[in-house]
Structure formats: structure tokens, C-alpha cells
Symmetry: C2
Subunit: 379 residues, 2 copies
Amino acid sequence: MAQQHLDPTDPTSGASPRPSTTVEQGGTPTGDALAVYLRAQATEFLRALRLHRETGSGGAAAGAAAGAQESADAARALRRSARRISASLHTFRGILDPDWSDEMRPELAWVSGTLGLEHSYGARLERLLVALYRLSGSTALPAQPVAAGAARVTAGAPHSGGPGHPVSAPERGSLTVGAAKAGALLERQLTLARTRAHSTALQALGSSRFHAVADKVAVLASEVPLTLTAPATDLRPLAFAAEERLTDAVAALPLVVAGHPYNAEALVHGLSPDPSPHPQDGPWHQVRLLLRLHRYAQEVLHGGTSPVDVHLLTAGQALDRHRDASEAAAAAAAAARTPRIAPATAYALGVLHADQRHEVEAARFAFQQAWQSTAAGTP
Amino acid sequence: MAQQHLDPTDPTSGASPRPSTTVEQGGTPTGDALAVYLRAQATEFLRALRLHRETGSGGAAAGAAAGAQESADAARALRRSARRISASLHTFRGILDPDWSDEMRPELAWVSGTLGLEHSYGARLERLLVALYRLSGSTALPAQPVAAGAARVTAGAPHSGGPGHPVSAPERGSLTVGAAKAGALLERQLTLARTRAHSTALQALGSSRFHAVADKVAVLASEVPLTLTAPATDLRPLAFAAEERLTDAVAALPLVVAGHPYNAEALVHGLSPDPSPHPQDGPWHQVRLLLRLHRYAQEVLHGGTSPVDVHLLTAGQALDRHRDASEAAAAAAAAARTPRIAPATAYALGVLHADQRHEVEAARFAFQQAWQSTAAGTP
């Protein structure tokens, strides 16, 4: 998928390392550092998996709510390490057993994707309900729309940071009929999707496919399949190539438009006859993934001790928000295509859709600002 | 209505004049300058009225389209001078015959209000149709939605300044069913309102009430009812008081929020059960009027020769856009309350409403930026 611009097995090749990829604690980061990192992530994966098994299925004695919380935390930790292992296999593919890497990566992507869906649907619902309340001029936020026993939902940050007090059901009267009906429709549709995702995740965790992945990760925890020359190979050219892929992709984004507030770009196609996801969002989603690869590559180089680049983190958060708002807008549009809904419901969903598309635009603006600061900090 | 902070009949009272209200061409502006200004505006009113009568009713020989254009231009000129006379009577009330002023002002407001409605409805429709096309991802703009014989409609500036080529009817196929139906509904409702406003304006121009106003303006063109001491009274304290009312009102606006892009403030209440106009818009509309009073007072002081303060003009245009978007959003919301519309229509109107409320927010941001520049330029 990604082109290697440099010969990673030749330590003398490649441009001189840039300031952002140097090591503070002296010494050139080599394949050994990669092995240390991968072993640590694999160990973390196994720890999270054990925790998930202990808390997830049936632990009735520990209390259902606390159990659900711990299970969700464990699932998050699982996904977290799966993403990091997969990213490292991608970025440093040149100094790893290529067959093993190419077999492992899609399996890890499947694990983190499958485990992430339930959380995504929950967060999307919460984001949309919070927006509906905000749009209704209600200062109160909705009560947690969490099905019993399912993972905890954390809110996407609302626009203007209102007070986060959950409200009791009668207070929902502050919504218009349309907003209330739209909320109920979204809750029905996204809760159903979430419940299905929960079942799918449980099935996946019990499948032989997952056991095969877990076995491979267990091997990785003790033995990283490096190439023969890898232990002495400088990692920086490979990390630099990951950074270059990121900067190239960012350079192709319409950042000038994004940096101009209220450019109304994200709502173009808001009423387009084409119901597919906004094609303009694709490049931003791609940059989000490349930025993550870059961040993880930096973790490998610095052994997890690197000082966090705040601007880079902010840029990443803006792209997370971009993705969340983009998907929430699509969910509102999809709900509006439900047959036989009332006009008031459809109207509220239209307002909601436009609101989330403006969130998309706001996120692009935030990314542009953060990226500019990153560029200023990295000469 | 407005409090006079200073005794305008006493030239020694009041604060020392500020740099923004000095005269370049030497000499203190006194009541004589006001008389010159009012006579000129009254003459302009009469000229525009004559032109409107010649072009408006029946001039079939001159060609209907050209006639409609000239008639609209004449109506605009009539409103323009009526606004300026009325504003000057307000700001400089203290050195004018108070009974005469108090009688005249509501009549002039009635004239400019009645004549302006037709244009407003036309501009609102065009703004909404342009937005519908933009939201549909169509680069083409709709054909001019102008009823034959009615005044020309000029577009409110679209968000992102697309190409302004009118399109032929078949190209409307690029809209979704919902957007097309929403456009047709808005066109029906706003064209009806516009036609009614046109009839009302014609009736008004033929009424005895209007003739009484015209007679008074004719007198004003030769004889301005100043108080005895007025010819030698310094105008600047009164003009400064108008400026102070403006700056006080601006100080009460939530400019800090407005200056933060994508604050999502204007869409709070976007789905509120209260269908009345957004209460948060009121103070901005009020500042729009006060800014106009300030601008016209400066015209009086400088005899129409003052260099235009670009930032002030920009600020005023932002507030015009704020008002236009606010009213367009309300029109979209009102159309969505039409009984028995299809859900797709309602959905499109919801998107449109939210879009225009974001235009409201964008206009506030633009005002904040322009006002900051004004403040920086005026120590």
C-alpha cells in the first residue's frame, strides 16, 4: 500500500534525520527498539484480553455496571495495542518478516475494527442527542442513552461546553415534537446497530479466527520476527518516510479554504442527491490515519518516553472530531430517509445534519490551526 | 426614544469632540450644515418620487423590463433619502422644531418600510434559492426568480462566491426531490408575499397619507424648521451622542463569543419550540440601526464629502447580512410548518434553516472583525 522511498535495510541510505525524529537519550534507534516496543504492546494486548475475559462474560458478582465499565476499558486497551502493533508492522515492514507482517496486519485491523464499532455507535448517538438538546436551546443534556450491560458511552465534546448534568425523562419536554421524535428515531436506530455490534464483537472474541490472532500476539510478546540485519538498522529513515507520507497528504488538503472561518465548504453536497458519504471527507480521514501512523512511529523511536507534541495531539483530536461529526451527519441523513416519518421529524433531522456538517467544517478549521502551529514548531 | 446626553442648544456643553467627528475642511459644523443636508436629501426624495411616477405606472412604450428596473431604482433612491431625513431628524432633534420632527419621523419610516418590503421578499427568496443550490453541490445558480413587471431582485452575497451564471429550468434537475420541492414551496410563499407587498406599496404611494408626507418633504426642500439658536449650534455633541449610543450598544453584544469561529451560538434555539424570531438577534439588529444613524450623522457633519471609513462600511454590511440571514432562516422555518408537506421537503428546509443560522453566526464573526479594526483605527 505505502511506497518505501528509501532502502530501509541500508543504514547509510536516506536523508539526514530531521529534528523531529531524533532521539534525546543518545544512541540511534535501531530494530532492537522496535522489538522492545512490539513486545511491550503485545504484552499489553494479552493483559487487556485477560481482563476483558474476566470482566466481560457473566461476572455477576462484581456488579453489572462496574463489570460493563471494566469490560469497556479492557476492550479499549485491546484496540489501543492492536492499532499500535498493526501501525508498527506497516511503518517498519522493511525490517520485519514480510509474510508474517502481511498476514498479521489485516487480522489486527479486523480485531480493532470489530471491537470499536459498538463504542462508535454509542458515541454517535450521544453526540446527536447532545446536539438535539443544544439546538433546542435546552441547557440540560440528555440522560445517558446507554442500554443496560452495554459499554459506557463517552460524549463527543459538545460545541459550546454546556453543563453536563444528566436530566430526568420529563425534562425532555423542552424539545419540540420534531426534535423529540428525531431523537427517539435515532436512539432506536443507533441502539439497534450498537446491540448488533456488541453481539458481533462477542462472537468475534470467541471465534477461532480471533484465537489465531491472540496466539500470534502471544508469540510476538516473546519473539519479534526481525530480519537478520534489522537489530542494527537505523529506524529513522522508515519513521521519516511515514512522516513524509503524512506531510504529503496534508499538503494536498484544501487548508487555505479550511483556515478561512465559515467557508461553508462542508455543507456543499449537504442536500446532494448522492447519499454516499461526502467524497470531500475522504482525504481528511486518510490524513487522520497517517497522522496516527506518524505518532506511533515516534513512540517506537523514543521508546514511549518522547515528550508529547501538543499541536500534533490537537491536530489528531480535530481529525477525530471531523470523523465523528461526518459519521453523525450521515446517520442523521440516513434516519431522515426512514419511510413514513413526520415532516417535523424530518425537519429536525435536517437541522441536525447541517449542524454536524458545520462541526465537520469547524474540525477542519481546528486542524488547520493546529497543523500551522506544528509546522511553526518543526522547522 | 433616544436619550440626549448633552444639552444640544448650548454649544459650550459636552465633551471635547473626538477625532472621528472633526471636519476636514475647517470650520465647526453647525445647524446650517444640517439645513444644507436636509434640503439636499429632500430634493433627492422629490426627484426619486418623480422618476418613480414616470417609470412605475404604465409606461408601456419604454419597455416593461427597463421600466421595472428604473422603477426599482427610483424606489431605492426614495427609501435612501427617507432613511437619511428620518435619521437626521432623530439625531439632531434638539435643534429642530420638535413637534414637526416627531410627526415627520414615523411617516418617513412608514414610507421606507412599505417601499422596502417588496425588495426584501425578493432578495430573501433569491438568497434561499442560491443556498439550496449550493447545498445541493450544484455550481449553477438558479434563474432569477423575478415575477414579470416586479422590481429587480439582487442577490444577497452567497457564502463562497460561486459563479453567478443564471441557469435554464432543466438544470434544476441537479437538486434532490426534497430540495426542489422546498425551493418550489419557498418560491410560492415568498412570491405571494412579494406580490402583496408590491400592491401595498402601490396603494401607499397613491394614498393621501403619502401625499401629505411628500408635501412636507417639498416644504423641507426649501425651508428647514431649525430652532432659533440652531444655525450657530455646534452639531458635534449631538453626532457624538449618536456615536456613543452605538458604542454602548456594541459593548453590550457578546463579541467575545462572536469572535471565536464556529461558536455554534446562532443555532442554539434552532429547534426551539418557540417559533418567534430568535431573541438573540435583537441586539444585533438594534446595533445595525444605530450604526446607520452614526453613519448618516457623519454625512451631515462632513457635508457628504467625508472619506468613507471602510471598516465601518464592512461592519454595516456584516449586520445587513446578519439581518438577511436571520430573516431567511425564519422563512425556511415558517415554510417547514406548512401542513401536509413531504418529509423530504421538510428535511431540506431544516438543512436550509441551519445553513442560514450559520450565516447569521458568520455575519456576527465578520462584524466582530470589522468592529475590532474600526476600534483600532479610531483611538
